[in-house]
């Protein structure tokens, strides 16, 4: 099942519930996740949609959308590279890796490359300390990275696009 039909099923389930049912509020994170999977990020229209379905105010939705680090309120690239900058990766060269990621993707941290292909973000510990320095590329773990491996990875993605 794709994310859109997942979301529609979730919305239909919620529509059956009374406005005050706590399950409506509890659906806020899954709703934001599936909208983001479809649209790449949550625009203002998405925030309103989530508010409508969950029965919350747009302010309450905004509060959570901006709280969570995996929810984006600004456009993100088609590929998102999250480079761990916590201690274990830091000890093994995360700083150099972040610089290399900016250099080879042509985009500064937190921005989208002009072709819309990439965003590079620093991340808290990804639980990949046994493969440090590590990153998540579109949710997939990539570990034991160095500048050359990172360059090859980004080049491959550019070619595939």
């Amino acid at each position: 099942m794709n994310d859109e039909s997942n979301r529609q099923a979730l919305q239909e389930d919620l529509a059956q519930l009374p406005a005050t049912d706590p399950q409506r509020r509890a659906a806020i994170v899954p709703m934001m996740q599936s909208l983001q999977a479809e649209r790449g990020y949550l625009d203002d229209k998405s925030i309103k949609e989530v508010a409508q379905v969950t029965g919350l105010s747009t302010t309450e939705v905004e509060e959570l959308a901006t709280f969570y680090s995996l929810i984006y309120r600004y456009p993100a690239g088609r590929h998102v590279l999250r480079v761990c900058d916590s201690l274990c990766c830091g000890l093994r060269g995360a700083d150099r890796l972040l610089q290399a990621a900016e250099k080879y993707s042509g985009v500064s941290l937190g921005k989208v490359s002009p072709d819309g292909a990439f965003s590079v973000l620093p991340s808290i510990c990804l639980g990949l300390c046994d493969q440090a320095p590590a990153a998540l590329l579109d949710g997939e773990a990539v570990g034991s990275l160095d500048e050359a491996a990172l360059q090859a990875l980004l080049q491959r993605l550019q070619q595939e696009d």
Partner: protein, 426 residues
């Protein structure tokens, strides 16, 4: 020690339901349903299974204290929001063997007579979370989850909550808020979640590593479990070793294994010619220990006696090329960024500490900064709302004691001696 918790883990091809059952999986359900719930709780308490999420509280005691007469509905929350720097044990459990987790929550929920389980998975482990959902569907189809499981009369629903991603969600009461769709600030500790937890119903929260021990304890007995530990520890323990070692990795060993054995035998020791400067024993929010502590058994009480915490049993190794000021700054930046912002000492205090540390690391520190940081640590920890800030200042407080000469030399010379060493070596 023969592997117990990691025996069937395979992150590339986790066992299907059928293969897991053929390997002995889900046998503990029959054993569980042959026992009264309170008998299982007594066995777990006798095994002295202590919480693997960091606090080390007795799992059996936590379950007993919730009370057999707690009103329904009751919830069990399984915590897989692993985000503590240095810690990756739960990732191995999740990606490598989802059915082991499902078996564990069924048996644990039966002991607690809880009808609903929520498994909270950190957002960065999304692929693992999807694998777990598929495994739950498999188990539901086989009648292992749902109504009247194996004719026992016990009903159970298991849901997976994939987090939106913040470190604080791993704090148990913040996790309840996150599941309910509220801002994940920690809640007041009283009433306890066991009294008023999810949607104000009795809720028990355990780390996933704690829970996966339960089926083994039930099948093999409390004495077997206790005998697996050494140096006073009980049971098997998942240890993560990372940082400046040759072979970082996950090692399942007896609880109580000394740090020396973990670092120098299992993780391959340090690179040639390097010496150990210090290590963190239990993830980012625990105090640094020194080479003189290498023989401390990695168990809750001995590590506490040495001045730190076993925490998540995630050892991070610093060798003599690592600047301890830079390492401490990295930790403080992490905590400053991850503060939930709810209370002022934590929200404003941790960035202030990070700013002072940055100045020292950049060679712009002042002599009075060390005393100022000590005062701030002593204020921020006790005056903040939850356990986050005390954990955040613990590595700094210990770093100021263990590595004081390094701080003083940064301030006196206006430069980081490790920068020059690394540059000339590069």
């Amino acid at each position: 020690m023969e592997a117990v918790l990691t025996r069937h883990l395979d992150a590339h091809a986790p066992l299907s339901l059928q293969a897991y059952q053929a390997a002995g999986g889900y046998h503990s359900l029959d054993a569980a349903f042959d026992h009264k719930p309170e008998e299982i709780i007594a066995i777990v308490e006798a095994a002295n299974l202590r919480g693997r999420g960091g606090a080390g509280f007795s799992c059996g005691l936590k379950w007993r204290l919730r009370g057999a007469d707690a009103p329904r509905p009751r919830y069990l929350v399984c915590n897989i929001d692993e985000s503590e720097p240095g810690t990756f044990k739960d990732r191995h459990l999740l990606y490598g063997g989802p059915h082991q987790i499902i078996e564990a929550v069924i048996v644990s929920a039966y002991a607690l007579q809880a009808e609903q389980v929520v498994i909270f998975v950190r957002g960065e482990y999304g692929k693992g979370g999807h694998g777990l959902k598929r495994a739950i569907e498999e188990a539901e189809k086989a009648g292992l989850v749902g109504s009247n499981i194996k004719g026992s009369g016990f009903n159970l629903q298991i849901k997976v909550h994939l987090s939106g991603g913040r470190y604080i969600c791993g704090e148990e009461t913040a996790m309840l808020n996150a599941i309910e769709g509220r801002r994940p600030n920690p809640r007041h500790k009283i009433p306890r979640p066991s009294v008023k937890g999810l949607w104000q119903h009795p809720t028990t929260i355990n780390n996933v590593e704690t829970l996966v021990n339960v089926p083994h304890i039930l099948l093999n007995g409390a004495d077997w479990f206790r005998a697996l530990g050494i140096n006073g520890g009980c049971g098997p323990k998942l240890f993560c070793v990372s940082g400046m070692v040759q072979h970082p990795g996950l090692f399942e060993l007896p609880c109580g294994t000394p740090a020396r054995e973990l670092i120098f035998e299992h993780a391959g020791g340090l690179a040639a010619g390097r010496t150990l400067q210090g290590f963190i024993p239990g993830g980012a929010s625990t105090a640094f220990l020194l080479p003189e502590h290498l023989d401390v058994p990695m168990d809750f009480d001995p590590v506490a006696k040495a001045g730190s915490r076993l925490g998540t049993a995630a050892i991070i190794v610093l060798d003599d090329t690592t600047c301890p000021v830079q390492a401490t700054l990295n930790l403080m930046r992490f905590f400053a960024r991850e503060s939930c912002g709810f209370c002022t000492p934590c929200r404003d205090g941790l960035p202030y500490l990070a700013q002072i540390l940055t100045a020292i690391a950049d060679g712009e520190g002042r002599a009075e900064d060390l005393i100022l940081m000590e005062e701030l640590c002593n204020t921020i920890g006790p005056q903040s709302f939850c356990a986050f800030a005390p954990g955040a200042v613990m590595p700094l407080t210990s770093s100021l004691q263990c590595f004081r000469d390094h701080y003083e030399s940064h301030i006196a010379t206006g430069r980081c001696p490790f920068d020059a060493a690394n540059k000339s070596g590069a």
